[in-house]
């Protein structure tokens, strides 16, 4: 990939920068998730470059950006940041199949555009596979345990059940990976993590990090601070835990409902197809009724097509996002647990220190103070991330649900149009016949 070509900036976050409105602007547009632009072909064999949506040149966009080193977690609407402070844009696209003697796998193109000084160049393009994303996530979790790390799409797929190389699967996975990376790049702290930098810039990630044999260690195993028991969890963290539990439940229910609807719709579709077929077969016996019967058969077919599209869209766009959020909730719960552990450790050490102090009047040991700092940082980071997460979640679900509504509306509109044109056709014929009768 040439780096110097004047190409549109790949977007970070939810929209290309030219489409993001200033929060104070009057017009409100529906936000849309783009993967480096509008609809694209997922090419498995020839890696056709993806069209990005905004035509603005790199330089003019740079001019609009502030080069800002402000790292503080901004608790305002995340999209207020984007128009003023965003300086890191990442995109995941262009899946390609790699066949080697040992294995077959897919790689994705990860494009970066940035004005940050941490990066040597303003643009990068590397190819990464799922394993690499997994490595990045583990590194982020390890190095930033007090922050909420976005989830990855599921790692394991049953080989017999799902075709790992099917277009739909690859596209769904790629969108999830793109979202993951964008969320990390948007994060005021995570985006400056050196592992992220390495991920985005280094050509051969494997060799440098020697991760080929790295296996994902169970998260709960890390950070177990030797059996300290938590006394009193602050109310707000309790509330977070409860919220996550209930939300998890509701997401599970919604997932089940959506799947049930897909099943019912699929069965309906089967019957509807046969139904249209009967009208078609009737045509043969009739003369005057040919047209109306063919028309009805045609409309039923159109409705079938619309319904099929609806089902496909729901499978591809709706269900995966739901499932991603369930994973997100799990990872957040883990962070809450870690926070509890670090508080427990602090309380434990504090208690021990107090006892010793009473005995021999030594000053508060450094470790206890360090622990206290750690807990306070943890709480602050978590609170900030939580607010940011809530805000993102609200936006994501708004988008998800309006998308679902739109698709249903679309499906009905297609069907309605077909039936309406049939009526027009038949009523025209009727007036034709009447006038010829009276003549």
């Amino acid at each position: 990939m040439s780096v110097g070509a004047p190409r549109a900036l790949a977007s970070s976050g939810q929209k290309p920068i030219t489409e993001i409105l200033h929060p104070l602007s009057a017009a409100e547009e529906p936000l849309s998730v783009t993967v480096g632009g509008d609809k694209q072909e997922v090419a498995l064999t020839n890696g056709t470059p993806v069209e990005t949506s905004s035509p603005a040149s790199t330089s003019s966009l740079f001019n609009r950006l502030q080069l800002d080193d402000d790292l503080e977690a901004d608790v305002r609407d995340p999209y207020a940041d984007s128009t003023e402070m965003r300086d890191l844009f990442v995109t995941v696209d262009d899946p390609k199949k790699h066949v080697s003697t040992m294995e077959t796998y897919i790689t994705y193109r990860v494009s970066t555009k940035t004005s940050r000084v941490e990066f040597d160049l303003p643009e990068y393009c590397v190819r990464r596979r799922y394993q690499d994303f997994d490595w990045l996530r583990i590194k982020l979790e390890d190095s930033q345990p007090t922050h909420l790390i976005p989830p990855l799409p599921e790692k394991f797929v049953m080989k017999g059940v799902v075709d790992r190389f099917s277009e739909e699967f690859v596209e769904t996975r790629m969108k999830a990976l793109d979202k993951f990376l964008k969320r990390v790049a948007d994060h005021p702290v995570l985006s400056f993590n050196p592992h992220l930098t390495a991920f985005l810039t280094v050509k051969d990630l494997n060799k440098r990090q020697g991760l080929a044999l790295l296996s994902k260690v169970g998260e709960s195993v890390k950070h177990v601070a030797g059996g300290y028991k938590l006394r009193a969890r602050p109310a707000e963290f309790c509330a977070m835990g409860e919220y996550l539990d209930t939300f998890n439940q509701k997401l599970g229910t919604i997932d089940r409902i959506a799947q049930r609807i897909l099943k019912e719709q699929s069965e309906y579709l089967t019957e509807l197809r046969e139904y249209g077929g009967v009208y078609s077969s009737w045509v043969g016996s009739e003369e005057e009724l040919r047209r109306p019967l063919e028309g009805v058969a045609g409309c039923v077919t159109t409705s079938c097509g619309a319904l099929e599209d609806l089902g496909d869209n729901m499978s591809l766009d709706f269900l995966p996002v739901l499932r991603e959020y369930v994973l997100y909730l799990e990872s957040i719960k883990n962070v809450l647990r870690k926070r509890d552990q670090s508080q427990a450790e602090y309380e434990g050490r504090l208690e021990a220190a107090i006892l010793r102090k009473q005995e021999d009047r030594t000053p508060m040991p450094l470790e206890v103070e360090k622990c206290q700092d750690k807990v306070e940082c943890f709480n602050a980071d978590l609170k900030a991330d939580w607010e940011r997460w809530q805000s993102n979640k609200r936006h994501d679900f708004k988008q998800l649900l309006t998308g679902m509504a739109d698709r249903n509306i679309n499906s009905y509109e297609k069907s309605q149009a077909a039936w309406e044109s049939l009526i027009t056709l038949l009523q025209d014929k009727q007036t034709e016949d009447k006038t010829s009768e009276t003549n």
């Binding site: 049930r260 609807i261 009724l289 109306p292 409705s303 708004k398 309006t402 009526i423």
Partner: protein
């Protein structure tokens, strides 16, 4: 015409639509007006399961209302079938509910079913009223005007004798030597129509079942959105109201499917019509067959006469054989036999003439009615299909409305 007639007609033929056009109105009422049969029937069911007829206008000194049971309708129809074998007699609605999708009761006492049956019976009477031949039948008129003595009047016609012969004709297996191609084609068409409409009704019932499932499952979103909204701050209101719209969506299917039943009823009427068509064709076959038989018999008798006269045996006859075996008969015997044959031949020729006339008349009247029926069928089914399309459009519009409302709520999340 009373103002009521419009609503009854709509129920029988079209159903609720957004698009109204004079062209899509059934022509039955208009035809009745044209023919001056100013009878309008509106029916009600009373608790005894009898049907009440309201009659407006019509014959003077006629009671305003009288009662008729389903069995009396059946009697009327049987009478018409037998009396006018060359006419395609309009069908009665089904006695038991068939082709139902599972949610609809197959129960004969279910109020919806009873109402639809009422409409079907009314439709039957209107069809008869608008038929150029049947509408003049005296017993039909009495059906509408004489509650008490009607049954007796029907029995007095002695139509029952003909019932047996009709049944025989329907079930008999006979081969016609020179079938009338038009009638053969019509019978075949009628069988095809019967098959395809049965299929259509069966699949439609399955489609209705499935669609019901799709809509109702969406109702679950209502509940879960409501529960979810309880744990949300800013998103709560939007979710909650969206949930209500999902409930509305789930409820839409009940009306949608109920309306579609009218379409199914229109198809059913023609399904049952095919039986009537078939029976006219079969009757024609029988008449044709009898004609052929009569002609055959006459030929054979004439041959016998010739033999007797010339003494040659060309056709085998028992008499001939026995006379060969046991000796010839006397001149006297021969002459008496000839005379008997002549008589028989004359009768045979009379019979043949009658059969010929009967056949010609039957063919003429039946074919006229068949042409009338074909036109009626094309018009009615075309209208039914159009009204079906209108129903589909209405369903789509309702769906769009509810999802748009839900989308607005989501946007406020």
């Amino acid at each position: 015409m009373m103002a009521d007639s419009g609503s009854n007609e709509e129920v029988a033929v079209i159903g609720n639509t957004d698009i109204t056009s004079t062209e899509t109105e059934s022509n039955i009422i208009n035809t009745m007006v044209e023919r001056g049969t100013a009878l309008l029937r509106k029916m009600e069911i009373n608790k005894h399961g009898q049907l009440k007829l309201f009659q407006v206008g019509g014959a003077p000194a006629a009671p305003d209302t009288l009662w008729r049971r389903y069995s009396e309708f059946e009697l009327l129809r049987t009478f018409l079938l037998v009396t006018y074998p060359y006419i395609i007699i309009p069908p009665l609605p089904e006695k038991r509910a068939e082709f139902q999708w599972h949610k609809l009761a197959a129960d004969n006492l279910d109020p919806d079913f009873v109402e639809r049956r009422r409409v079907g019976l009314e439709n039957f009477l209107l069809r008869v009223a608008s038929h150029p031949v049947l509408s003049n039948d005296k017993l039909y008129f009495l059906f509408l005007t004489e509650e008490k003595g009607w049954r007796e009047a029907v029995l007095e016609t002695g139509f029952q004798d003909k019932v047996d012969s009709r049944l025989k004709s329907l079930s008999a297996m006979f081969r016609v030597k020179n079938p009338d191609k038009r009638f053969t084609a019509m019978k075949q068409y009628s069988d095809e129509l019967n098959t395809v409409i049965s299929q259509l009704l069966r699949v439609r019932a399955r489609v209705a079942d499935r669609l019901y499932g799709v809509y109702k499952v969406h109702g679950n979103y209502g509940r879960v959105f409501s529960e979810w909204s309880a744990i949300e701050k800013e998103m709560g209101d939007g979710l909650q109201s969206a949930g209500h719209h999902m409930d509305t969506y789930a409820a839409q299917i009940d009306d949608i499917l109920e309306e579609e039943e009218h379409y199914a009823d229109q198809l059913k009427e023609y399904l049952f019509y095919t039986d009537a068509v078939r029976s006219v064709c079969k009757k024609h076959e029988l008449i044709q067959y009898e004609l052929e038989m009569a002609a055959q018999e006459l030929i054979s008798k004439k041959q016998q006469r010739e033999e007797l006269a010339t003494g040659t045996v060309r056709v085998f006859s028992l008499k001939g054989m026995t006379s060969k075996l046991f000796g010839t008969e006397s001149q006297e015997q021969r002459e008496s036999r000839l005379a008997a044959l002549e008589q028989s031949i004359q009768e045979g020729e009379e019979t043949l003439k009658e059969k010929n006339t009967e056949c010609k008349e039957f063919v003429q009247m039946a074919w006229q009615d068949i042409e009338r029926f074909k036109e009626q069928k094309d018009k009615d089914l075309r209208e039914a299909l159009i009204s079906y399309a209108i129903m589909q459009i209405s369903t789509c519009k309702k769906g769009i409305q509810v999802w748009s409302n839900a989308k607005d709520c989501f946007n406020k999340m």
